[in-house]
């Protein structure tokens, strides 16, 4: 691949990913509404929301707040580019982690106790899912013999068949990443939680729009990873990802928010346990 080609692909991914993410969120809201016997908003409602936010006055608490929002977005874009160009997956993970740290600092740089609670919970969420994500990449390495995202189909068979338990663990991570109950601790889509917008509470107008766009990227990334579990045939892969999304939405409606201690304990026992068990199979092979 020439540098020019790489740049074009990178550019394409940077434009396409938020579009996919926005569409997925639109579908998400529709399905959610149907589950609650509502009609639900138009499919492009997430886009309308962001356009409206962009038109508002940007009110902030201090100057650095905006910077963290930009870093959050920029590193998610970088992670998208790294994955699409088939680069090292551990590196991509670390880049996503940096983007989350930027979000945490954005919540902590202001003197609001609510956003600080949100940030503290976001740290606990990171602690809960980060090891599982690394183990996912290790599982992929054990299957393909490569850390590179471009070698995802190297083994010639779908990852789901070698990593079934890690897939289950990743569904838990997906719930955290998509801010679904019972793990919507730091910030939530639902109005009935005890702290609704925690980590983003002090962001408004165009600056909140930056975070919303960043969440589109995040949603698209999660979708991409879910689909990669059947990367030998992307049609099946996308179907798999859609099924996983519907399961997440179902659980979002079934569960109430739980405490961060509960999350931490269960992610480290159930989630990590599933991943480690799956890895033991692979090491024993």
């Amino acid at each position: 691949m020439s540098t020019m080609n790489q740049l074009l692909i990178a550019l394409f991914a940077v434009v396409l990913a938020p579009a996919v993410g926005a569409l997925l969120q639109g579908i998400d809201r529709r399905i959610n509404a149907r589950m609650q016997s509502r009609v639900g908003p138009p499919l492009l409602q997430p886009v309308y929301d962001v356009l409206k936010l962009l038109g508002k006055e940007g009110v902030i608490l201090n100057r650095t707040q905006v910077l963290y929002a930009w870093i959050h977005l920029a590193f998610l874009m970088l992670a998208t580019v790294l994955l699409v160009l088939g680069q090292d997956m551990i590196m991509a993970l670390l880049v996503v982690a940096v983007s989350t740290i930027a979000l945490i600092l954005g919540g902590m740089c202001v003197r609001s106790p609510y956003s600080r609670i949100g940030s503290s919970r976001e740290i606990m969420q990171m602690l809960s899912y980060e090891p599982i994500l690394v183990l996912l990449v290790i599982g992929i390495f054990m299957t393909n013999g490569s850390f590179m995202a471009r070698d995802i189909t190297l083994a010639g068979k779908p990852l789901l068949l070698t990593l079934p338990l890690i897939f289950l663990a990743f569904l838990l991570v997906t719930a955290i990443k998509l801010k679904k109950s019972p793990f919507d601790l730091a910030t939530s889509h639902h109005g009935h939680q005890e702290i609704v917008k925690g980590i983003t509470i002090e962001y408004a107008g165009p600056y909140l729009a930056i975070l919303e766009v960043a969440h589109w990227y995040e949603t698209a990334l999660v979708f991409l990873v879910l689909a990669a579990f059947w990367a030998t045939n992307w049609v099946v892969g996308i179907a798999l990802a859609i099924i996983a999304f519907v399961i997440e939405i179902l659980f979002d409606n079934l569960c109430a928010r739980l405490t961060y201690q509960w999350m931490l304990v269960h992610m480290w026992t159930v989630g990590l346990g599933l991943s480690v068990t799956n890895l033991i199979w692979l090491y024993w092979k």
């Binding site: 009110v59 910077l67 590193f75 970088l78 990171m126 090891p131 183990l135 290790i138």
Partner: protein, 633 residues
Amino acid sequence: MVTWLLLLLIAGPILFGFGILLAPTREVRVGLTLVAAGVTAAAALYLSRWGPAYGGIFVPSHALPILLDWLMIAAVIAIGWTSRNTPVLIMGVVQACIGLVLEFHPRAPQAMPQPEFVFDQLSLMLVLITSVVGALVLVYAIGYMDRHEHHGPHSQASQGQFFFFLTAFLGAMNGLVLANDLRWLSAFWEATTLCSFFLIGHDRTPEANQSARRAIIINVFGGMILQTGWLISVLNGSGDSLIAFNQAQALIPVAFLVVAALTKSAQLPFQSWLLGAMLAPTPVSALLHSSTMVNAGVYLVMRMAPGFGGTRLATVIAMAGAFTFMAASALAVGQSNGKKVLAYSTIANLGLIITCAGMSTPLGYAAAFLLIVFHAITKGLLFICMGTIEQAIGSRDIEDMHGLMNKMPFTTVIAIVGMIAMLMPPFGVLLGKWIAIESAVHLPVVMLLVIIGSALTVVFWAKWLGRIVTVSYHQKYVMEDLPPVMSGSMLTLGVATLLSGFLAYPLFENFIKPLARVLYPLSSRTDASWKMLEMTESFMTWPIYALAILLVGSLLLTLMAVDENRLRKPFLCGENIADSALTYEFRSIMDRGEVAMMRSYYFSSIFGEENVSAWANPMAVALILSLFGVIAI
């Protein structure tokens, strides 16, 4: 020329140290300290011109190192006697007995003459770290100690004595990383122990004496283990040379030397002395206990790594390191004392370096090298920032650093740079963690420990960063008043840290990889680790640099775009009190003013020192015992 420069780097600081000790006035002492720092740093930087030159240096005299050895043993015994420290006294006597045997036992004739000193990329890099970071801390200490003399305890020893040990230490450390003959190595090893003992005890308060006592017990124990390993190698006929061990794969002496290294690098279960050492004035913590002396241990493991590659010993060493990395990171999560967080983070990072070096694969070795360089620079920086903060706010508690940006913006910004360098790409520490995880993939237990440890490190850095980045609206910055020696060395180290982020990749490609190629012979190139090392060439770096440029651009744009009139107070679920000095005060029930504050989570019931040590120390002891188990069976 190289030989003379090396002589200057070892003997120079020690001689300057004597000058400083005898200096009649403060002006002479400060002048001599500045000259010593300048000469050492300049000599090391000039020496780097001969970077690729690999070679041994022969010193004809054996009498001089033996004399130094006996001097050190005598000093240890004297300390044990005068301070009524029985363990040290006993271990000193044991060392003397081992020394006597070593003196008179005939050496088996060696096939090749072994050099007394070795100058290669590894020792060059450690000399650079010691001399340059060390010189900057030395300069910083001038300002710090003047303030310390005012505010510190009245029982403290003289500044002349303090600077003597601090300066002489640089020479001893340079000697340690260059020495190949165990006579020299053991002399310099004990010399660093003694410097550390006197510097920790500098304040002469009961706590300082207690900490110094613990430090010397553990480090003299390490020295005794080192001498035991040396004795075994002499009795086995493996000789006195470190590089000969690697060629002969003499695993038994290597195992003893590794345990000695674990004590020096404060790995579990020997960590208590480093925690106690945090009572010492901060330049001591910055120089000895984060960026240089503790490097002696990991240096020794790295020096011997090519020799034990592929053995079961390698796996156990990697496991011990990874266990320390995980446990020390967990301990750091539970601490709100900033200096202790830094200390545990140091122990954790040294553990990670031992993990990488212990695996003894080309990729692991490269990761260890990268970590040793970047950790030394960054941790030196963070410690001197911590010292400055502590002197200003009179507390080490992270929760007390709320709103630090208003009081001392210069120090805070530099501390933020240091923490970001510990946590984020493209800085070396994160790159090291990344390579460590990938090269540990064939040792599942080690890998799992490294992954868990990495997740825990993010927690304590994020908490601390979140505390010091807090700024209020309508920020009023009051520039702190620091003597130029302090602000100058902080600024230099801060800029060096920032630059090193962009130099990590070139350093890895042009310096570390060629070294790994030399150390690991051609025969092993077929294995997976070599493939992974070569594959790093196909990583694209342009996205990282492009993004860095984008980031700086967006930073400037946002800062310019923000309008003063759009700044608001935080939402507090109640009316903000308009004229309050605290922006987080609100009207609560009955119009009472209430302050809304939120502490970070520390989980002291899970990650507290007693809780973690209770299971971590026995596990660590078991790991060290299995270190000997795998070579015995």
